[in-house]
Amino acid sequence: MIELRNVTLKYGERVILDKVSLTVQNNTIKAVLGPSGVGKSTVIKLMLGLIKPNSGQVFVDGVDITPLKETELYPIRRKMGIVFQGNALFDSMTISQNMSFFLRENLRLPDDEIERCVTEQIHFAGLEGYEDQLPENLSGGMKKRVAIGRALIFNPKMILFDEPTAGLDPVSSRKILTIIASLKKSNDLGAVFVTHIIDDVFAIADEVAVLYQGKIIFDGPTDNLHESDHPFIRSILSDKILEL
């Protein structure tokens, strides 16, 4: 379980998050919805301890990670996989090297075991035949699937997606959403995904938190979003896609 408790984050004088509280239960798909530049990606980075809040606390499975040092955060981060908005694939490594990176770096498994895990993820991502390609030779959707495979390879309990369908064509977007939805069923995983596309939220999210002007203005089951009378939520429900 991940919990943000009264988290405030500022860049200089600019307040990005203002006393934000948010909980993500295991085995739940939670969407963080909001317009671009509102601090959605920041929420994910806070959950991983990649950035620290100015005030407030971030709990991962009951442990407050805000005072932890970088090296103390490593075991916490191993509970979560992340898929960055731009995928953040290591561009000097092949697809199989990208996927096996975590295993080689941290688990020091035998080569045949690593190979078995990579083959499994390559199959899951539908990328057979691309193992030795560099990321630059893949399409946007394929890169996203590699990034998902890389995040899943160490069996995390939770997976964090930063704008998983941004910049993808409708077919690739649908594939990625199907993969995210299937993770909960087949791998018993929880997921957090930040997005500005409301259709994606209704397609797969169990719960949604709406972030607007640094505050959470709605947090609850996705189906209950229609009941909100907040003007911003009313406007996004009518427009269906947030202003970019």
Binding site: K45, L48, L50, E70, T71, Y74, P75, R77, R78, M80, I82, F84, Q85, G86, A88, L89, F90, D91, F101, F102, E105, N106
Partner: protein, 265 residues
């Protein structure tokens, strides 16, 4: 109004000073962390080898070009000058001082700041803005141990042989120019060098290698890690890295020479 302008001017400069001090503080912490990760070299030996190839073997052509040109130029110009005093036989000694102690290492340092420093700055800057460095951290890998330490260690190991190569090529070129341009017998040229070579000549020259390696690698890597604001930000951070490391190489070149010559006079 003038008072307000003065206040604004003061505020702006105070802000810049504060920013500079904070950047220096971050840089020294970055440098300390880079040295602290040196014991992890065994784990990242492949990365060290890759970087040794990039900063060492692949830098040989540019080091040779700079050392050959400076050796030839020094021999020609100093020979012309000495001819006026009828002291052409001292050409070897005069040229070797300049090539071994000062211009050879300095030019090599500047060339490596441009070549290796720009590569580090651009590569790490691109990794920073494409979130690859965050990805390393997210996967439990220390980006300084994985990316900076191998660059630092490779430079520390490779800059010494590069300086030796640079000195050798510079002196050989000087000897060739002396023989064919100034018609000085090679025996006379080399005899004016060998008996007068003293340990401090080599200490000055080879001490500059690790100093330049540390400056170039840490300054360019720090600027790469600090890149913000898309591709333009990578360009800005790369330029900052090259300018700062080149300037520091010039300053360090002077102080290393001065300190060693003062101690070993």
């Amino acid at each position: 109004m003038p008072l307000t302008s003065a206040n604004t001017f003061m505020d702006r400069n105070l802000f810049r000073l504060k920013e500079f001090i904070l950047t220096m503080q971050e840089f020294f912490l970055f440098a300390l962390r880079s040295f602290a990760t040196l014991p992890k070299a065994k784990r990242y030996w492949r990365d060290v080898l890759d970087q040794a190839l990039i900063c060492g073997v692949e830098s040989i052509p540019i080091v040779l070009v700079s050392s050959i040109s400076i050796g030839g130029l020094m021999s020609m110009e100093v020979g012309n000058l000495l001819e006026e005093f009828g002291a052409k036989t001292m050409l070897g000694r005069s040229t070797s001082n300049a090539v071994l102690r000062e211009l050879g290492p300095l030019l090599m340092g500047l060339m490596l700041a441009a070549r290796y420093g720009s590569r580090n700055g651009a590569e790490l800057g691109a990794m920073q803005i494409s979130e690859q460095i965050d990805a390393l951290r997210a996967f439990g890998t220390d980006p300084i141990a994985k990316l900076v330490m191998p660059r630092l260690l490779a430079a520390l190991l490779m800059f010494v042989p590069l300086i030796a190569l640079s000195d050798f090529a510079g002196l050989q070129t000087a000897a060739i120019v002396a023989e064919h341009y100034h018609k000085i017998d090679p025996g006379i040229f080399w005899n004016s060098i060998y008996p007068r070579l003293v340990p401090k000549d080599f200490v000055v020259s080879f001490l500059k290698a690790p100093v330049f390696a540390i400056i170039i690698t840490l300054v360019s890597s720090f600027n790469g890690f600090s890149a913000r604001g898309g591709t333009a930000g990578v360009g800005r951070s790369t330029i900052k890295g090259i300018v700062a490391s080149s300037g520091l190489v010039l300053i360090a070149n002077f102080y290393v020479s001065k300190v060693v010559l003062d101690i070993m006079h």
